[in-house]
Symmetry: C2
Subunit: 460 residues, 2 copies
Amino acid sequence: MQQAGKRHIVILGGGFAGFYAALRFEKALKRRSDIEVTIVDKENFFLFTPMLPEVAAGDLSPQAIVYPLRKVLRRVNFFKAAIDSVDLKDQIVYLRYGESEEHRTQLHYDHLVLAIGSITNFFKIEGLKEKALTIKSLGDGIYLRDHLIATMEAADIENYSLERKKRLTFVVAGGGFAGVETIAAVNDFVRESIPYYSHLKNDLVRMVLVHAGEAILPEFDRELGDYAQRKLEERQVEVLTKTHVTSFTDGFVQLSKGAPIECNTLIWAAGVVPGLALENLNLTKERGHVVVDQFMRSPDRANVWAAGDCAFIPNAGTGKPYPPTAQHALREGDILASNILAEIDGRALTPFRYSAIGQMAVIGRRTGVAMIKGIKISGFIGWLLWRTVYLAKLPGLDRKCRVGFQWLLDLFFPPDLSQYTSRRSPSTDLPSPTRPERFGGTTPFQEDETAPLRDAAIHN
Amino acid sequence: MQQAGKRHIVILGGGFAGFYAALRFEKALKRRSDIEVTIVDKENFFLFTPMLPEVAAGDLSPQAIVYPLRKVLRRVNFFKAAIDSVDLKDQIVYLRYGESEEHRTQLHYDHLVLAIGSITNFFKIEGLKEKALTIKSLGDGIYLRDHLIATMEAADIENYSLERKKRLTFVVAGGGFAGVETIAAVNDFVRESIPYYSHLKNDLVRMVLVHAGEAILPEFDRELGDYAQRKLEERQVEVLTKTHVTSFTDGFVQLSKGAPIECNTLIWAAGVVPGLALENLNLTKERGHVVVDQFMRSPDRANVWAAGDCAFIPNAGTGKPYPPTAQHALREGDILASNILAEIDGRALTPFRYSAIGQMAVIGRRTGVAMIKGIKISGFIGWLLWRTVYLAKLPGLDRKCRVGFQWLLDLFFPPDLSQYTSRRSPSTDLPSPTRPERFGGTTPFQEDETAPLRDAAIHN
């Protein structure tokens, strides 16, 4: 489907870096026809990750924080596909597509953009891969919310008090942004929901944040990290610093120090690693990340570029790489796309230089921490700032409307306790999936032998 | 957890009949303490089924049409559990609960309300159980929407034109309410989405409604059924009447007459049957439905009652049973609960008598058909009437707000094409489920060996 005589640019990944690179090309395609651009992702939407914890806590519907790539990319092609492999020599990307990714196709490129982001790293810790929950994808957010509700429902029926206590113990590993925002959201959601469960009480709930470093939110000034920890503790979250998880087996989280924690729920937010598609690529890497120069071009291949969480981009000022945050990734994607256009046109490339204005985190209902241009902001103002800035950054007017409206409803109505997972109605005897608890507890169904009452009217 | 000295009333099923019975008891519990009431359902929400096709077509978010049972039932107990069996002699209901329904518990009852509704009946037609989609549960609605988008995504990449045509052919079996509203919603959604897929065109899409009877919408006057058929045909839906599906294998829907249809998608809306929990119950039944008298009490057991789709309630006027519709079920539930209270108090029972005011169906964007007190209404006014009446009937102010707001957005923004299913991020090597295509196409993941770049900062 690619047209001859055009330069083909293929972007792998539709996260912040890939999406913003595509947006830059979309603009360029309004006035030039010498290039063709294709973006590839396994999901057909851009996920606004900063709001993922709010989906996990049921404050926002999944629909509100995703933006369909096809809606805004009318000139840039989109392929919903998984990456099989990349042939750097022949400049071909091999893809799998279809409902179960069983079909194969390929794309030739003149320029390749690697923006595949990162995935969770379990560090081979025993039991994590099998039992820990994660908070990276939209599916993770939906699944976590359902899991929390299912857990409370089961605890409410449970007569055996030790079992009930185990179900109401929640551990989050990782005291960075993701972990702190997740435990804050989970804590609020569970504690605000408990009054609806007649056999449960708030003092049966235990919430633990496990963090390896000295203070949580290491991305911030120590003072703000300490403030965040104090706030979490006020909200009945136990914060264990200088501690790490050593295993999660037989319903116990084992720690590097202190008593093991008996629980059903461990959410792992303590490490990421670049996506698997880079593994076999013969490019210079730094701990799995593709090393590029200040123009985001690989030193090994002049037509391969990388940005976002999977890239190692040197900061000329500090000598260190730029951090893996959304606000960096989107700017990297934009500059990267400009550089490819400049390269095609024979113009000079622009080095990537960015100094973050600030950082923000939500640490529970109506409380935030932020550091903007060195100024520390915390409490209600920090929370309001978070919501204002992120609502402004959320792409798409309809999404802004949805999120704004749901935040408004949220002020007036209690949390939503409906547990909905994507599953068929129990009408058939489909075999249950190998891990049914992952997908909402489908049970094997019995064949139905009875005939309908009014089949004359309702049989097709 | 049941208290001595109280009459225990157990309601099985939280659909229209069970939910409205529970609401009646909730009111009664404000002023009396001699009864205890428990409602049991596998889902912890009441599903507003009339709007399910709108979820399948992405017009409404799943959250908007479900109402958490715990929110409104503060005096009535709720158990999220599956029914294992019922012991009529000892008056005990055996339940399974927990995330994968692996735990067991039981409830003793003095009065039992059977309101378990109906499930899809495949009539043992070859291939349906394995391959057909259904539209009964919330999971069905979410799954169907995701399937439609996945199908369009795959068709857009597909180079082989026969395969593409097969992917863009959609068959709905069943010309009653559910089937007609579903094909209307699916047709609108697919055709409005096609312009966003650069390799697809509207004339590649084929939509077929297969119906066994002479005219669709047999619940209505023939004239309105014919009008609905004409409208669907104007919108490029083929309507095959006096035809039924004989099998769905190897990608072909075989029909009782005419050419087989090559397609990936068959939605089965052509028959229901009472839920499986009734199968082994030793009560008088009529084609699987529990026969009750005009007071909704079983002739076999004075403390067993039934209402809704699983019950056979005689209409004293016509001699036929009342039809299995939402507007009947909710009234049946209400009267049934009143009758149990009257029975406990030694008052006279009230026979169930109801004559439906009218019926309504949506047959696509801005078009509806309705028959209200014998008056036929169709077109835009019919559609407006449908939305007004159902918005008024939807329980819960927050739901009304959500649905009203989403309908409003819907007037201004194009359809949402994001495919989101509940699944984990691809960070682990969990085995894929046995039928991955049912749950969103998870693929087996490879183990990740690379270490992270900044593990000092992000490791817990």
